[in-house]
């Protein structure tokens, strides 16, 4: 009746954020290079949807209200390098932020951060 606690733990933790990312993983048969959008959605990568709405992308499924929606990015970040820097280490701008330091803590590679920056910049 009871399944392995470790498995269940993993499943339930993942379940909390996974719905969208899973859909993507299954669609993708071949191990293609993930796009910026996929990296942003995937809860094991950027997981931006945990905290940000993305009203510019109809595929973004989230009800979050933790952080400002990612919208009008070109207007908010005339300097794209500043946007990238925010993703690389959000604690620089605000030491108390809950946004994970994706570059500094090696959560994402430099290339992955570039792709996400490009994707978000188009929002």
């Amino acid at each position: 009746m009871r399944k392995s606690p470790t498995l269940l733990l993993a499943a339930s933790l993942a379940g909390m954020l996974l719905a969208t990312a899973n859909g993507y993983a299954q669609e993708q048969q071949k191990p293609a290079e993930p796009t910026g959008q996929e990296l942003a959605f995937n809860n094991a990568k950027g997981n931006c949807l945990a905290c940000h709405m993305l009203p510019g992308d109809p595929k973004a499924v989230t009800n979050t209200n933790i952080a400002p929606p990612l919208v009008g990015m070109k207007a908010r970040f005339p300097d794209k390098a500043k946007l990238r820097a925010q993703i690389w280490d959000a604690t620089k701008a605000n030491p108390m932020t809950v946004m994970p330091p994706f570059g500094r803590n090696l959560i994402l590679t430099e290339q992955e951060i570039d792709k996400i920056t490009d994707y978000v910049y188009g929002m």
Binding site: P5, L9, S12, L13, M16, N63, V98, P100, N105
Partner: protein
């Protein structure tokens, strides 16, 4: 030591909720004020409902599931374990005052003799040992978990009443507090990030529960069937931020549970409950 203070000070700047050098009672009151201010419409006793207080639909679902809990057979199994005599003929009830009624809300407590925090699970194991039985594995949901799913119901309605008295007890409490407010893991979160500062907000699709009331209703049955003890949940939340979890029953988690439980003082207990 210095580092600890700084970490806690840093956290208190952000959360405005807890400061260094406060007494446990000051900590609790400050958090109470913080949550009163944050959600003026939530009644104190309702904090035992965790994340459901922020979502009427989920609370309705909770209430209807609790009318006929799908996990009652497991709790029943726990009752059998509780009532089955040890080889010497004695029972768990003999180890506690009043047959262990209205006792769980006093745990964890600081045992001066042992010099450490004692959780309810540890007390159950001491009882077994005193009666010549092997101890149960602290993190075994199928034995310890099932046993507590019934044993804790004997304290339903009791108000949490954890005491922190004496220098050594305060030191253990402070260690738990430090765990709670320290950022950890690759994702760089503290417990407080999610359960104080972001409590009531939605992380992707899940409401985050407030720290008040988080220790009153264990174990929980997630999805209505998977038994989780409180410390198993700590492991889960540590993993969520990609931190290496401690073991259930470790001193680190016992101290965390001590601090964490103190904050729920005054809230009514209810075991065992449904969680998503």
């Amino acid at each position: 030591m210095k580092k600890t203070l700084l970490a806690i000070l840093g956290a208190s700047l952000l959360f405005g909720a807890i400061s260094a050098n406060a007494t446990p009672e000051q900590d609790r009151k400050e958090l109470l004020d913080y949550f009163k201010h944050k959600s003026p419409n939530v009644k104190f006793d309702d904090y035992v409902n965790g994340a459901f207080i922020y979502n009427a639909d989920a609370l309705n679902q909770y209430n209807s599931i609790m009318e006929f809990p799908p996990f009652y057979t497991v709790v029943d199994q726990g009752k059998k374990m509780w009532e089955t005599p040890f080889k010497n003929g004695k029972t768990y009830a003999s180890c506690f005052p009043d047959g262990a009624k209205n006792i769980a809300g006093r745990y964890p407590y600081f045992d001066e003799g042992l010099g450490k925090v004692v959780t309810f699970e540890m007390a159950l194991n001491s009882c077994r040992k005193a009666n010549g039985e092997d101890e149960l594995a602290y993190d075994d949901m199928g034995t310890m978990g099932v046993l507590t799913s019934y044993a804790r119901t004997l304290s339903d309605g009791m108000r949490m009443n954890v005491r922190v008295e004496g220098a050594k007890a305060v030191a253990a409490y402070e260690k738990g507090k430090q765990h709670f407010y320290s950022r950890r893991g690759q994702l760089n979160f503290s417990c407080a990030s999610c359960h104080v500062h972001q409590a009531g907000n939605i992380i992707r699709t899940e409401y985050l529960s407030p720290v008040l009331g988080q220790t009153t209703h264990w174990p929980v049955f997630r999805g209505g069937e998977t038994l989780f003890t409180l410390q198993k949940r700590y492991e889960g939340c540590n993993k969520l931020v990609r931190a290496v979890p401690y073991k259930s029953g470790s001193e680190e988690y016992n101290d965390l549970e001590y601090f964490h439980s103190y904050l729920s003082n005054g809230l009514p207990m209810k075991a065992s409950v449904f969680r998503k």
